[in-house]
């Protein structure tokens, strides 16, 4: 095999090899989707961010409009301050509400934005003031159990009969399904 044929084949090989890397970068990975536009940054502080991770999605009406860029703890208020990088294509009013949501029961945690009616728009470096923290399921359950327990003890004191205690689990179940529906 002479040299020019080998050169040709090596050239083809290297070209399709780099083509494959490009395919992995652009089509499979998301090298250019959000990093293309610098966008603008906004902050929001939450009492509790739950399982929110870096690069988590920021969604408005289910559409991804940005990514979580940084999460830190405010040393004074002990709130979590989340920095989001937003796509510059989308603008949001100043009274937008940010909430930490979970898609599905086991799904990923994301920040949901609910646009308000303020004519003034959020600018780079602004902070969203109206936020809603993550729902911690353990807290909900313990709160619910505590309520149940205090209810049960007051009932015992009032009626002084053991029979309702046997029915209590059914009531708890009913309430639990109600809570799940909510």
């Amino acid at each position: 095999m002479n040299r020019s044929t080998i050169d040709l084949w090596v050239g083809i090989f290297v070209a399709i090899g780099f083509g494959a890397i490009l395919f992995l970068a652009l089509k499979v990975g998301n090298l250019l989707t959000l990093d293309r536009s610098p966008g603008y940054r906004i902050e929001a502080s939450f009492e509790n961010i739950g399982g929110l991770k870096l690069r988590a999605a920021v969604k408005a009406a289910g559409v991804v409009v940005g990514r979580v860029e940084r999460v830190r703890l405010d040393p004074k208020t002990y709130d979590a301050v989340v920095t989001m990088r937003m796509d510059s294509e989308y603008q949001f009013s100043k009274d937008t509400i940010a909430a930490i949501n979970t898609s599905g029961l086991l799904g990923e945690v994301y920040i949901g934005l609910d646009a308000g009616g303020d004519p003034e728009m959020l600018k780079d470096g602004d902070r969203i003031t109206k936020t809603q923290s993550a729902v911690v399921i353990e807290k909900l359950i313990s709160q619910f159990l505590f309520e149940k327990a205090s209810e049960g003890s007051s009932k015992d004191q009032g009626a002084a009969q053991p029979a309702p205690a046997a029915r209590a689990p059914e009531g708890a179940k009913a309430k639990a399904t109600e809570g799940a529906k909510k």
Partner: protein
């Protein structure tokens, strides 16, 4: 009786000691060999067509096996992944599963194993046979450094080819997954590509795969040229060197893969 025990003990201790010193000696020899190869690299690159020739033999001629294997691995991954994901109603996520598995792990590792057995063994056999037929000694007689003329081009040919082969393996695997997942099973094509696009990051997922394949390429190439250079100059010696190349390269790939994965994905999320 006690003399017997002492004799047996000293025999085994001596074997252990000999094994350890031998292994350390081999390690030092191979390290010096690597340094010699790197030292002679500029001299080898001055005649670049030698390296291009090796890219042809190690890379271009490995294309068929790499592409076919990638296609089949992607197809099997898609089929098996679908069966499992379907139980959780997450069959839309098939694209992420196939792409992440291939880009992070299977692409570099399987391409590396195939590369070791397809190209590494050939390199070892070639250099071993050159040594057996005293071609290397003849080169030295003619004041041609065999490391610059024979070893370094083969080493760099492998190092250059391997990342490209691994990327092609992953790309064809993802295409194979698409064929089975979308065309055969009937997952929505938009979900396959869209989920993949959203779930795979160029940094760190794709770049880590490329780094891995680069390291595997260097390891396999070094083992192959070293075993060939170090082979006993007999037919048996070349045969056992070729076998050692495949065995050691495969183990090295899997062990390095584990170590690199520990470091790469430790703090990732």
């Amino acid at each position: 009786m006690s003399a017997d025990v002492a004799g047996a003990l000293s025999y085994w201790l001596r074997r252990l000691g000999g094994g350890v010193t031998g292994a350390i000696g081999q390690l030092g020899y191979s390290t010096r060999f690597l340094l010699a190869v790197l030292w002679q690299t500029p001299a080898a690159f001055r005649r670049i067509h030698l390296t291009l020739r090796e890219v042809y033999f190690a890379g271009v001629l490995s294309l068929v096996i790499i592409l076919m294997s990638g296609l089949f691995v992607g197809m099997v991954l898609s089929l098996q992944g679908y069966e499992t994901l379907k139980r959780y109603g997450a069959d839309e996520q098939l694209g992420i599963l196939v792409a992440l598995a291939l880009v992070r792990e299977l692409g570099p590792v399987i391409a590396g194993l195939l590369f070791a057995s397809r190209a590494g063994s050939a390199i070892t056999a070639e250099i071993g046979l050159m040594k057996t037929t005293e071609q290397l000694a003849a080169m030295e007689m003619m004041a041609v450094n065999p490391i610059a003329r024979v070893v370094a081009p083969r080493f760099w040919g492998g190092v250059i080819s391997m990342p490209l082969l691994a990327a092609l393996f992953s790309a064809f695997g993802i295409f194979g997954g698409y064929v089975v997942g979308v065309r055969l099973i009937g997952i929505d094509a938009g979900a396959y590509w869209g989920q993949m696009h959203a779930g795979v990051d160029f940094w760190p997922d794709v770049t880590n795969g490329i780094i891995k394949s680069f390291v595997f390429g260097a390891a396999v190439s070094l083992i192959a040229v070293f075993e060939g250079f170090d082979a006993k100059p007999t037919a048996e010696g070349v045969a056992s060197a070729t076998t050692r190349t495949v065995v050691i390269s495969s183990l090295a790939i899997l062990a390095l893969d584990f170590v690199m994965t520990v470091f790469m994905f430790r703090g990732a999320r």
